[in-house]
């Protein structure tokens, strides 16, 4: 029973990973490596 339970958890994790990749929106990220910490 333990093995079946952990298989279910593994399948759930894989399904969530696959589902999240399908859901995530692709937004072009700006390249803004600004480490200046400037007050202005």
């Amino acid at each position: 029973m333990n093995r079946k339970f952990f298989t279910l958890l593994l399948l759930a994790a894989l399904s969530i990973a696959a589902g999240s990749m399908a859901c995530v929106s692709t937004i072009n990220e700006l390249n803004n490596d600004d480490e200046g910490d400037g007050a202005t």
């Binding site: 958890l9 969530i16 990973a17 929106s25 700006l30 007050a39 202005t40």
Partner: protein, 688 residues
């Protein structure tokens, strides 16, 4: 309460069959908590966003653990300590900073761990209440994977919600345990612990203030076991309320009222209720709460930004939302009053009670945010889990009716079927729901991975938000700073920035962020007079968090061409003095004070301020560069080389051109002023 007793009055679909009981509850819970942790593990790659800079990265108070006692006096507000009215959170931040530093990865892992802890504590309290193992596991899994929790878990500074929930659930468990204590001394000990934990929970966030009401509901309705006696309930409730009272008294001590955001004497223009009145805000709030319910069940429309707006009570959307919420509340009250469907009553009334602190009855700066639902979603998850398990049970009976053995006694027709096939049917709706929620949770969390990603998404979802336009413009400015000045691309980016600043200003003319947006644009364009004017206007309309504005004003005042030299110095000194007085824990103000002293020929004062800035934020790149430049300007090659070598990792974050320039200057100074320990001008160096 024993497991068997708990199962005694649980519903058939909440129980495991004999074969399925081979699984230990601990294994089930551990496996589910592991699943939640694994699913959320990618969050460790995220950066600091939103208020993380204000509360953690640039919060100098975290570097002064010896001054924590200040949190117990109004001086904490006078010195503008971030989140001073949440002492538990500040102490937690101090401790985590000491251990984790400013590693965003480790802080995100901590948030995930806190969320998993909350899930475990929720399961534990349900066990103490007598809920069956299957219902506990289902509720835990659903709470852990609920999509609307993305914001609370993915933003480090919103761990206040996680912390409040964890401490609040511990308080509820302690109060429940007090009723089962074998001796009076232990009973009193458990009650005292419940009161202390309740105070700590409210000290993390006031969203936990209505947990005592949930506790009373749970023990009065008591869906799985006999209710506690009236005196026991009164004792537990009083202990939990005592904790809430202590937290409220602390806020009143600091702010002179129960709201940390405004007082009768000084209304806060950031609160919409101050501008349009409480009526329209509450009308809109009914729509917001119906939307919360929809987002918990069907997770679409989740956003990092919502625009505050009022509504009319005659608006059809308000009428519909009010009628729906009233209907739900009446159903809950009716179930409670007739002592029928106690679980339904607990779920509905519990959710209403937990929604109260963020329901806009007491004005808060954001009318709506996904994180506000964190604690409130616990009873909703309990109700949805029970409903989905019941649906699975029904599905199992409908799908395989012939499997039921004919010889089975008629008096036990609803006993859960043994074996994995029966369990699979029973769990199918729940698993499908949790997987769907988990997928949206992980996808939604991606919106929070960097500031630029966050504000790009915010602008898409809330195009009428002044904040989204202003902060998106600032991310564009960061790009412009890394683009060669004078190139067409640089000019085009600045034009886009100006467009967003204008839209933000039109959307909210009395908001400091659009003014700051214009001011930073003017700085990038080297238009110092315009920058000074805009920063001054921002300061005039901003009720708090003005450290950066004051620092900018102090620095810019030196460059305004219309003013003579003496006036520039006088104004700069005035802004900086005010900043240091009002924000003594802001590293940027100390750094700018040092820079101004440095540029105006006062190296001793510059050195003192640079060292203070360094103490308040050792990870701050700008302070290190300015300190290095001070050593170079003084011709102290030894001090400069020390900084270059010891802070090489920090300086590695500077742009390549700046690093190359600094290295060239160091070599030049070493050649021109070969240093000797005794000849060193700065005997103790700048920082080393």
């Amino acid at each position: 309460m024993s497991e068997a007793a708990g199962r005694g009055i649980s519903r058939p679909w909440e129980r495991l069959s004999a074969a399925q009981r081979e699984l230990s509850p601990r294994v089930i819970l551990g496996g589910l908590l592991g699943l939640i942790a694994v699913v959320l593990l990618p969050l460790a790659q995220f950066r600091f966003v939103y208020d993380d800079w204000w509360t953690i990265v640039s919060n100098g108070f975290l570097r002064r653990p010896g001054e924590l006692a200040l949190l117990l006096s109004p001086e904490a507000v006078a010195r503008n300590i971030p989140d001073a009215f949440r002492p538990t959170l500040v102490v937690f931040d101090v401790l985590t900073y000491q251990v984790l530093g400013t590693s965003s990865h480790l802080h995100h892992l901590l948030s995930v761990a806190l969320h998993v802890l909350v899930c475990g504590l929720l399961a534990r309290w349900l066990r103490l209440l007598g809920a069956g193992v299957l219902l506990r596991a289902a509720t835990t899994a659903m709470f852990g994977l609920l999509a609307i929790h993305a914001e609370a878990v993915a933003v480090v500074s919103y761990r206040e919600d996680l912390l409040a929930a964890a401490l609040g659930l511990l308080a509820l468990s302690a109060a429940t345990r007090s009723a089962e204590a074998p001796t009076r001394a232990r009973d009193l000990g458990a009650l005292a612990l419940a009161a202390a934990l309740s105070a700590l929970a409210c000290g993390a966030k006031m969203s936990a203030a209505t947990l005592p009401a949930l506790w009373v509901l749970a023990h009065s309705l008591s869906p799985w076991r006999l209710p506690l006696s009236r005196s026991r309930r009164a004792l537990g409730f009083a202990a939990l309320c005592l904790g809430v009272g202590l937290a409220v008294a602390h806020t009143a001590l600091l702010h002179g009222g129960i709201s940390p955001y405004e007082t009768a004497a000084s209304p806060n223009p950031r609160l919409l209720a101050t501008r349009v009145g409480l009526g329209p805000v509450l009308a809109q709030s009914t729509q917001i709460h119906l939307a919360y319910l929809q987002q918990m069940i069907a997770p679409f429309g989740l956003s990092p930004e919502y625009t505050d707006r009022g509504a009319s009570w005659r608006d059809p959307a308000t009428v519909l939302a009010t009628a729906s919420l009233l209907g739900l509340a009446l159903w809950g009250v009716s179930c409670a009053a007739r002592r029928r469907r106690p679980l339904t009553a607990l779920v509905i009334l519990g959710a209403f009670v937990l929604a109260l602190p963020t329901s806009n009855l007491v004005a808060i700066p954001n009318m709506r945010a996904d994180r506000f639902v964190y604690l409130m979603s616990a009873p909703v998850c309990l109700g949805l889990s029970s409903a989905l398990l019941a649906a699975g049970d029904w599905l199992g009976r409908r799908a395989r009716p012939r499997e039921r053995p004919r010889e089975r006694p008629r008096e036990r027709p609803r006993e859960p079927r043994a074996g994995v096939h029966g369990l699979a049917w029973r769990l199918a709706p729940l698993v499908a729901f949790c997987v769907g929620q988990g997928a949206v949770l992980v996808a939604t969390a991606q919106n929070y991975r960097t500031s630029s990603h966050l504000w790009t998404t915010a602008l898409e979802r809330a195009p009428d938000s002044a904040r989204a336009h202003a902060l998106y413009a600032e991310t564009l400015l960061s790009v412009a700073r890394n683009t060669p000045r004078g190139e067409l691309s640089h000019t085009l980016i600045l034009t886009r920035v100006e467009g967003h600043c204008r839209v933000a200003s039109r959307l909210d003319p009395v908001y400091e962020l659009p003014e700051i947006c214009f001011a930073r644009l003017a700085v990038e364009r080297r238009s110092w007079s315009e920058a000074l004017r805009r920063f001054s206007r921002a300061l005039a309309v901003s009720p708090d968090r003005n450290a950066r504005i004051l620092a900018a004003l102090g620095q810019i005042a030196l460059d305004v061409p219309e003013l003579d030299t003496e006036e520039r110095r006088r104004r700069s000194a005035s802004w900086i003095a005010r900043g240091l007085r009002e924000y003594p824990y802001a590293p940027e103000l100390h750094a700018v004070a040092g820079r101004v002293a440095h540029l105006t020929g006062d190296p001793e004062t510059a050195l003192r301020h640079y060292r203070d800035a360094r103490t308040l934020a050792p990870e701050r790149l700008q302070t290190t560069i300015w300190g290095l430049e001070l050593a170079l300007d003084l011709g102290d090659s030894r001090a400069a080389r020390k900084i270059w070598v010891r802070d090489r990792k920090l300086l590695g974050r500077a742009p390549v051109a700046q690093r190359a320039s600094l290295l060239l200057r160091i070599r030049e100074v070493e050649r021109l002023f070969p240093s000797h320990p005794r000849a060193s001008i700065l005997t103790d160096g700048v920082f080393y």
